[in-house]
Symmetry: C2
Amino acid sequence: MDVAARVAIFERVPLFAGLTPQDLEVVAREAHEYRLKKDQQPFQQGEPATHHYVIGWGRVRLDQTTPEGQNVILRFMGPGDLLGSVAVLREVPYPATPIAIEDSMLLRWSAGRFAELMQRFPPISLNAIRIVGGRLQDLQDRLRELATQRVERRIASALLRMVRQSGRRVERGVEIPFVISRNELAELTGTTLHTVSRTLSAWEQEGILSGKRSSHLIIAKPHRLVEIAEQA
Amino acid sequence: MDVAARVAIFERVPLFAGLTPQDLEVVAREAHEYRLKKDQQPFQQGEPATHHYVIGWGRVRLDQTTPEGQNVILRFMGPGDLLGSVAVLREVPYPATPIAIEDSMLLRWSAGRFAELMQRFPPISLNAIRIVGGRLQDLQDRLRELATQRVERRIASALLRMVRQSGRRVERGVEIPFVISRNELAELTGTTLHTVSRTLSAWEQEGILSGKRSSHLIIAKPHRLVEIAEQA
DNA sequence: CGTTTCTTTGAGGATATTCAATTTATGTGG
DNA sequence: CCACATAAATTGAATATCCTCAAAGAAACG
């Protein structure tokens, strides 16, 4: 992938908002491509943080594992999303493991190179604060949800969040454009795959959604999900 | 409070790390003092974000309320902590309400003034990213906890976190240097005050901790709490 | 000293987990 | 392309954790 193609990607990356095409070219030239096949990981939770990553294309799931081996999904990430930067800047080990859920391409910079870029292009710092701040607020909302709401509502909210973030209109409703297993949904909402399965089965009965294993979920009645997510 | 006194405070504020005493003086001169009595709030969740705050002295609890009126405590904050900045920089309404749990003094800057300071003193931006990033990681840990652990462990972890953050050695153990009610602990750990009460009662029986209403909690056996927090 | 607020404790019940078994889908090697 | 192996999903039954409801006790406040 040449520099021009990278610049084209970076034009839609929030981290680089406010940079001129010339600036982006500099940034792009310093980047290294990093390709991942499905299920591969660019780094692991606990490793020293050495690189900043931006997702060029593909999708990544961000996992955090407990000492006892239980797993939680922090978020799903897609093109333009930022990865690893907080750990690099805080000079702490990566706190989570990203796993490609599709073949993906990341662009990355070493800590030192990226520090130079941040110095040279001041908007990057401010963009970074906004991005990290946005994630902080997302997490605050999820924490509140997890603390106050029952499982069914949390699953509905999680699906709606994915619809809002990456949903695509299709004939029968809105589609979540990547495969997500019952287990992943459980790890995302703090419940068990059994409860997720029962809940989705019930919703399929009701015609709210459809989508079997390794096909994309299609939400036929998003308004019903909203009702469930908001019901007292 | 004169500028020199403010500078003395700012020398220990992470947001201003790396600034010279002269820099701090500039920052201090631009600040406005904002005093709060117990239970007062500098701003409310949902209001447009207009100011950056730093806690000079005192303590603040950061609340997030659901549409239905349920409350969650995001964190307790003390001297040197940053308040409101993420919302100001993202140009979104404040996502939470800070409430003074003791008489407190905040120092604040308008969005515009602070933007100038950030431009003039580049370390501030980087410090801000580190601080917000740190909070993000704290929240990720709490989310994982809430998703995977049972109530007793969560309460133990919450107490230990407060001990680590603000604990003070006293004769009988370690003291949490501010009053915290059963209800607050419940809102901090995603449970009910009843369950917290039962749990603390049991721990008091065991001699793990002590401290009645409106006195400070004293943890006599922190190691036992660690065991509880880490037990499989 | 009465009122308010916070805390404690009990009993009953609901939600969601755990355990267990089966069904269904996917992938692989012959 | 089929048969088998593997992985994912479904569903039922039993159980546990924690919440809700209820009431009373203790501490703080004016």
